[in-house]
Amino acid sequence: MDDRFFRIPSGCGISGIMSKDRKFFSGENIIKSIHSMIDRGNGLGSGYAGYGVYPEFKQYWCFHLMYEEPEARKMVEEYLKEKFEMIHSEPIPVKNVKTLSFIPILWRYFLDTRQTSEEYETFSEEDCIVQAVMFINTHIKKAFVFSSGKNMGIFKGVGHPDEIGEFYKIYDYKGYMWIAHNRFPTNTVGWWGGAHPFGLLDWAVVHNGEISSYGINRKYLENSGYTCTLFTDTEVIAYLFDLLGRKHHLDFETISSILSAPFWFQIEKCENQEKKKLLKILRIIYGSALINGPFGIIVAKSDCMIGLTDRIKLRPLVAGEDDDFYYIASEESAIRVVSKNIKNIFNAEAGKPVIFRTNGKS
């Protein structure tokens, strides 16, 4: 069943590893970490996002496309050529894994935005990329953009994490940050686009949970110019980060105070009057962006990785560090399996963000 037009609640496992000083490392450890939590998925979806994986094309936007029909590829390529300068295009290299099925046609494109375009006078470059993604996903049938950042890539599909890792040969890529997802959707799916991570520009999100506020979050985003094409909770989270971070210029702490807003009684108790005022204003303005219902998420952007849970922590999230890396995962075991000398390991507090930056600050 194609789940593209239905909203699928799912339980999941998530994991993220980030090098403290932007050292490159292969995708091997992230496969190991996410695969250690195999019980948290059911073989119906997993995926990876790697940052720094396309050093030779790092100044270009990279689109990953999945096609269910060859015809769709022609239409997308025509559209992309018209809108952008296509620097390079190729099929995404994959390995035959017998246990996988419903495999779509997978291509990647490295694109340059034409600075002469009239559109830039009214829109930013990022807005044009977002528009192109939304256009393809809503208007070109059987085509789906699943990655659209610079020097990063999302690789995902329907299968167990080890199978998907093997399929995309994740271990052949080198990145300075990886996040991964193992999915337990509550129905049968055959569509690869439904897997996580979900991304827009260089945001990538892996998400464990179900959002009860989905209906209003989605309407709020639609009023702000986003088209929700996927009907997944995760898409909504990615767009909220994009809206609040990129368009409203808010930092991660502030975004977290919106998505997992503190309770009114906590705000009342806040001693710092400025902070108290800010928290109250945020709740008044951004009530429709509050994410309600159980979730644990890892959000990555080119220079940082953050972990966040819902206000009463209905889903698990653990964070830790060793000499070289920061880690966030659903379970402690997923961190210990890749770090023998873990130093500082702790449970994320309900609704409080864990923020790790590539410059070693946290």
């Binding site: 989905y214 209906g215 309407k219 009114w264 009684f265 303005i285 009530g287």
Partner: protein
């Protein structure tokens, strides 16, 4: 033509064995139904005078009285119902417009009864409101689209000024009921309850009695077409100001408080001579268009230094969504929409029962329209018109309302039995009357406690339902129509309501 012999609507039955001739019923009934006959120590009851308010039944110490509908079967049929035949008889006699009170009692589809709520199972844990915080705090007023700030060092300096807001501890307020249409004691009961619970009450269009100034900070005052009681201290004392264009019970119609109800205190509060009729014209005679409304909104904002929200109340009519959009663009901070089932103290029956649209549909189309236009943030939507229970409130919020006004439900908590005779001024429960003999029956302290209890009960029920859905803040339900499903609705109804049918998953 012969004079028609009247048939009573109700029968008063008295169990003679139980009746102890205490004559409480005789003294209590404002309609003079019961008369004591000394000669044979009996009590006669005139069925024709009975309005079915059940006051005597509840007061009778030995439970000797039962009020029932008159089972007399007049030859009615599917088209010519009893009510219509009697109405014609009345009009043939009097040549007048038939008046009535309370909200429309006709059987138009009540969409709340065709909408059901969601709950969490397995994939999403429900939340127990007894163990976890459950937030129903609501803000009424214009909201900015985004926060503006400057970064200075490590500090975030907030540049955004939040426009004035009403802070509600429950998304339920007491609807506009004027001094004149209801008694001082009824008003005071609601004022005390609103203040104690952290919500708001509304003066209606009859001014704010001086003795209620202590509750003015929790009071929304109305500016209606009659401008009764409107002066600068009235505006300044209030928490918010509401321009009343119309009400659900009588869209397009003005109001009329008969001179006999304009007693001394009402005359002072409304600023009109004692004993004169208080006439509210159908339109405001300084508002013949949306731009005139804009001027009045800004005149009021100027007068009150932009310190309090200014709202506009309209009845839900065919074109409600574009009208609402116009009101937002005219600068209102909140908009009140009153549906066809909205109550009244007096309205022509033909208007009450035939004009307007149900509030459920109005909420859905207004919320949708304002979102499409990208101006939903600029206004709060308060809805009114026939909210009977906490689930109605929750469904309205999920459809897109910010808060709900209750009028009839609040009066029922004070004793009202919906006899629909508010316009007679003979309310036995001391609510819709100015007769001191009757008003003293309503003790404002007790009334306040009962109205407060109602709010408390509904707030607990709302929290239970929210927790069941796995939601712990009311703002996550507002406009979240995914949590609703229709049952027994056709496609066009589902489309207007913006909900799926029961059985459809996400």
């Amino acid at each position: 033509m012969a004079k028609v012999k009247k048939i009573s609507e109700f029968l008063v039955r008295r169990d003679e064995e139980k009746c102890i001739r205490c004559q409480v019923c005789c003294r209590m009934c404002s309609n003079d139904v019961h008369t004591y006959v000394e000669e044979n120590d009996s009590i006669l009851s005139d069925n024709l005078k009975c309005v079915g308010c059940h006051f005597c039944e509840e007061m009778c110490p030995t439970a000797a009285i039962t009020i029932t509908k008159n089972p007399s079967e007049i030859r009615e049929n599917a088209n010519w119902r009893k009510e219509y035949i009697y109405d014609i008889e009345k009009q043939a006699e009097t040549g007048g417009v038939i008046l009535t009170g309370m909200g429309c009692d006709k059987g138009y589809k009540n969409y709340f009864d065709h909408i059901i709520l969601n709950a969490s199972q397995v994939t999403n844990p429900s939340i127990d409101p007894l163990r976890e915080p459950m937030e129903i705090k609501t803000f009424i007023g214009k909201k900015p689209d985004k926060i503006e700030f400057e970064i200075e060092g490590n500090n975030m300096l907030i540049k955004t000024e939040i426009p004035p807001q009403l802070e509600l501890d429950i998304p339920v307020m007491f609807s506009a009921m004027s001094f004149g249409s209801i008694s001082f004691n009824a008003m005071k009961s609601l004022a005390i309850a609103a203040k104690k619970f952290g919500t708001f009450w509304n003066t209606g269009e009859g001014g704010l009695p001086e003795q209620l100034y202590p509750y003015a900070d929790r009071c929304i005052v109305q500016v209606a077409s009659g401008r009764f009681g409107v002066n600068i201290s009235y505006l300044e004392k209030a928490a918010a100001i509401e321009i009343k264009i119309g009400q659900g019970a009588k869209p397009g119609i003005g109001g009329h408080l008969p001179g006999e109800k304009v007693v001394e205190e009402i005359s002072r509060t409304r600023m009109i001579p004692e004993g004169t009729d208080a006439i509210s014209p159908a339109p405001h005679h300084d508002i013949y268009s949306i731009e005139d409304l804009k001027q009045l909104i800004h005149a009021i904002k100027e007068a009150t230094s932009y310190k309090k929200p200014v709202g506009v109340k309209i009845a839900a009519v065919n074109n409600v969504a574009p009208i609402a959009s116009g009101i937002v663009r005219a600068g209102a901070d909140y908009i009140v929409i009153d549906g066809i089932r909205g109550g009244t103290g007096a309205a022509p029956k033909v208007i009450r029962d035939n004009v307007g649209i149900p509030i459920e549909l109005a909420i859905a189309v207004v919320d949708q329209r304002l979102r499409e236009e990208g101006i939903r943030n600029q206004v709060s939507i308060i809805t009114a018109g026939g909210f009977r229970k906490s689930s109605d409130v929750l469904k309205a919020i999920a459809l897109g309302a910010d808060a709900v006004y209750i009028g009839t439900a609040a009066l029922v908590s004070l004793g009202c039995h919906l006899c629909q005779k508010c316009y007679t001024g003979k309310c036995n429960w001391g609510i819709a009357t100015q007769d001191p003999y009757l008003t003293k029956r309503l003790n404002p302290e007790i009334g306040a406690q009962r109205a407060y209890n109602l709010l408390r009960a509904w707030s607990l029920e709302i929290k239970e339902m929210l927790g069941g859905m796995g939601i712990n803040a009311i703002e996550s339900l507002r406009g979240n129509r995914e949590q609703l499903r229709g049952i027994g609705l056709n496609e066009i109804e589902l489309k207007i309501l913006g909900i799926k049918h029961a059985g459809e998953s996400w």
